[in-house]
């Protein structure tokens, strides 16, 4: 075994690091790097688009993609290093939906026309995407979705409602999963469509988070006409596309590096801030809490590298096999963010609740916004509970507890 990076990987890391250090000077005041920061205020969104263009100019926006679609055929390990450094510097720019999800999915299962049409503008940092999956009655149980698409000649006419769509008020395009065959139940009879958010009949309404940031939205479709050529995969086989995409949802070394950076900032704060005449950093209780998070960060990094290694060796197919590990890494990363945020709150005491616009806010108010946002991470992209179900099933061979056979009569 050898845990070290190659000299080339070390060089790359330094290059990324220098770039982000410099560019992050352009971040708007109070920038904390969360999705809320990016989607909520106009300055945040402008900054995201700016970074996307900068990264595209460098040729780094979609490094893992093939050269013909604007990428560099970069290895998984290189991508992990890029993800780490970018998250550490709290950089936006890489669109989670277009680059993180749609790109790899089209590369894996999309048609040549789709790749040619949609990938290059994503690679240039021009088009931004959103994910139109969840519905009021289809959250964890996505296959219960009811949004209807009826074929009329060369178009699908879409009617229904999606919800919790992050950044739908910003995105140019959305990818949706809809029901094309109502006779078929659950995951059968679904199709996967690419949808212009400016199309007539699409209405986006904000849903404010508990801290009043505007991250997600309700999206209504009223006779929205979507060309049949915008369907990914076969009609009725949309679930296969969705499942393929789900595997890309869980790679998350970035989440760990967000905490690594947050921890460093918190440690700095504890060294500088005196309470009761002594720096916080001298308080054994606080030392213990900080050290615990440091331990958890390293554990998280080790796990992320293990997953990256499996992927690097075996490609995406290996990732599907490592489904339980991916689920573990999602749970671990999001819950670590949550624990970190709570520890930050404890250490800052009454200051942990002060919003960033106040001169009394330490660490630019990141702990205040953080404790109200972290739990969203434990819910989005498959809740912690659902991930644990996956681990029990795929990783431990236990029965699928949510299956029909285990259903009991509805108690009242």
């Amino acid at each position: 075994m050898d845990f070290s990076l190659t000299p080339e990987q070390e060089r790359l890391r330094k290059e990324f690091d220098d770039f982000f250090k410099e560019e992050m000077k352009n971040a708007p005041p109070g920038w904390g790097g969360s999705l809320e920061d990016m989607y909520s205020a106009d300055e945040g969104w402008e900054f995201h688009r700016y970074m996307a263009r900068k990264l595209a100019e460098k040729g780094w926006l979609v490094r893992a993609w093939p050269k013909e679609y604007g990428g560099q055929d970069a290895s998984i390990m290189e991508q992990v290093i890029f993800g780490e450094v970018s998250a550490y510097h709290k950089s936006p720019g890489v669109d989670v939906f277009g680059i993180g999800l749609l790109g790899p999915t089209l590369l894996a299962v999309g048609s040549e026309e789709h790749k040619k049409e949609y990938l290059p503008p994503i690679a240039r940092g021009e088009t931004m995407w959103c994910q139109l999956w969840s519905e009021p009655n289809a959250g964890s149980d996505l296959a219960a979705l009811a949004t209807r698409a009826v074929r009329e000649g060369d178009y699908y006419v879409v009617n229904g409602q999606k919800t919790w769509s992050s950044g739908a008020h910003r995105g140019d395009w959305g990818f949706a999963i809809v029901r094309t065959d109502p006779e078929q139940k659950r995951s059968r009879g679904l199709s996967f469509l690419l949808l212009d958010m400016k199309a007539p009949g699409v209405t986006v309404r904000p849903l404010l988070g508990m801290d009043k940031t505007h991250l997600f939205n309700e999206v209504y479709f009223d006779n929205v006409r979507v060309p049949v050529k915008n369907r990914v995969g076969e009609e009725g086989k949309g679930w296969d596309v969705t499942k393929a995409m789900m595997n890309f949802e869980r790679t998350n070394v970035g989440m760990i590096f967000t905490v690594k950076r947050g921890l460093e900032d918190l440690i700095e704060f504890c060294k500088e801030t005196k309470r009761n005449g002594e720096p916080l950093a001298k308080n054994p209780l606080i030392r213990n809490k900080l050290a615990q998070i440091a331990v958890e960060v390293e554990v998280g990094i080790a796990l992320a590298y293990r997953i990256a290694w499996i992927q690097e060796k075996g490609g995406p197919a290996a990732m599907v096999e490592a489904g339980a590990l991916a689920a573990a890494s999602k749970v671990y990363g999001t819950e670590l963010n949550q624990r970190f945020s709570y520890v930050g709150h404890q250490i800052l005491g009454p200051y942990g609740q002060v919003k960033k616009e106040s001169k009394w806010a330490p660490l630019q108010g990141t702990i205040e916004s953080g404790f109200q946002q972290v739990q969203g991470m434990c819910i989005a992209m498959g809740t912690s509970e659902v991930q644990r179900n996956t681990i029990a099933w795929l990783g431990l061979g236990l029965p699928r507890s949510w299956d029909e056979v285990f259903k009991r009569p509805m108690a009242k």
Binding site: S134, N137, G139, S140, D141, A144, T163, W164, L207, L208, G209, M210, D211, K212, F216, R275, N276, G277, L285, Y342, H345, Q346, G349, P350, Y351, G352, Q353, V354, K355, E357, S358, W360, E368, F371, Q372, Q375, G376, C378, I379, A380, T383, S384, E385, R388, S401, W402, E404, K407, R408, M410, A411, K412
Partner: protein, 377 residues
């Protein structure tokens, strides 16, 4: 022993719950959070008419002479409903110390006005040092002739921006023992040199920065003896801490009930989410936390009310209950899924309060240290 509430207390609870649920629905809670003042004048008037502000004040001062436990019941209901109002600041933090330590003249001046809803008060205790120990008190008051002159900054003073009077904890002498040399002053909030401004916080609960610049206070506005004020602060912190625990009991119960009902109505995978054992276990743990919080709070309340030595019991209650409240609201959000994260859903109101109240009057770590000291460690 008698671990029951009296019939009157049960009636008080019912009428408070009815009043708050009709007068202060959650839509009103959100509007008040957003408003500059943070409370409704009409509601405040109605609360005074119901006798709430004078609940524990003797009749001679316009009250109805109830006991501390009565007030606790009311606070539990306020926590359950999340009532944005200066009730805690005025009644718990200021009227109680005036009643216990004020001169006859002070009691006559302040208490009837508090009882009839005319006067709002705020306690200016914490400072930028953000510690609830005597050593944290640095705002200076110096005696010049017949007046004290105050200089310095107080922080996290709830409702100071709307208060008519401030109860200010000042340092009047510097010595080896930080608990000595503390003096409490009743300061007219309109005095020249007082500037209060709201600090934006997660719970939007109107915590203020209060700056004092050469603020002159007549000597007769001193509460208790000069330099001996820490005893008053200790007592009022005990009352405030258990009173906060009571609010958390109410909030925790509401959050638990809300989550439990949601588990019985939300369907995924063709069944109630409450059918999944994971969700059942969460709710069971929340329930355990609630049930264990109740009597540990009431016992401390009883001791505070009876003026028994209770430093340890108060700290045990706070250390336990504020962690329980955080846990219950955090799991509550998780059980609700995405909808629990929204501004329009009630769960977030409780979740944000849980974190605000956790750090108020000392968090669990602070109180565990007190317990350790009480254990002779």
């Amino acid at each position: 022993m008698n671990l029951d509430f009296t019939e009157e207390q049960e009636m008080l609870r019912t009428s408070a719950r009815d009043f708050l649920s009709t007068e202060c629905p959650k839509t009103a809670v959100r509007e008040l959070e957003e408003s500059e003042e943070g409370y409704s004048k009409e509601m405040w008037k109605k609360m005074a008419d119901l006798g709430w502000m004078g609940l524990v004040l003797p009749e001679e001062y316009g009250g109805t002479g109830g006991e501390f436990m009565d007030l606790i019941i009311l606070l539990e209901e306020m926590g359950r409903n999340i009532l944005p109002s200066p009730f805690f600041s005025t009644v718990v933090l200021c009227s109680l110390p005036i009643l216990e330590y004020g001169t006859e003249e002070q009691k006559k001046e302040f208490l009837p006005k508090i009882a009839n809803g005319e006067m709002i008060m705020s306690l200016a205790l914490a400072e930028p040092s953000a510690i609830y120990n005597a050593s944290g008190i640095k705002v200076k008051a110096s005696l010049q002739g017949d007046e004290y002159v105050i200089n310095g900054t107080k922080l996290f003073a709830h409702d100071a921006h709307i208060a008519d009077y401030l109860l200010v904890v000042t340092r009047t002498t510097e010595g080896a023992n930080p608990q000595e040399g503390i003096t409490l002053l009743l300061v007219d909030a309109k005095s020249p040199g007082v500037t209060s401004s709201v600090v934006p916080t997660a719970a939007l609960d109107k915590q203020c920065e209060v700056i004092f610049e050469d603020v002159k206070v007549p000597r007769k506005n001193m509460l208790g003896a000069p330099n001996q004020g820490w005893g008053i602060v200790k007592r009022l912190l005990e009352q405030a801490t258990v009173a906060k625990c009571a609010e958390m009991l109410g909030g925790g119960q509401a959050a638990l009930e809300m989550s439990n009902s949601y588990a019985k109505e939300r369907v995924q995978y063709g069944r109630l989410i409450g059918d999944f054992q994971t969700i059942q276990n969460y709710l069971a743990n929340m329930w355990i936390d609630m049930e264990t919080s109740r009597n540990i709070t009431y016992e401390a309340v009883w001791m505070v009310g009876e003026k028994l030595p209770c430093t340890k019991e108060v700290s045990i209650a706070k250390a336990w209950v504020s962690e329980a409240f955080k846990f219950i609201t955090e799991r509550g959000v998780q059980i609700h899924g995405a909808i629990g994260m929204t501004r329009d859903h009630d769960m977030g109101l409780y979740y944000r309060r849980a974190w605000a109240w956790d750090v108020l009057f000392g968090d669990a770590d602070f109180h565990k240290e007190v317990v350790a000291q009480q254990l002779g460690l």
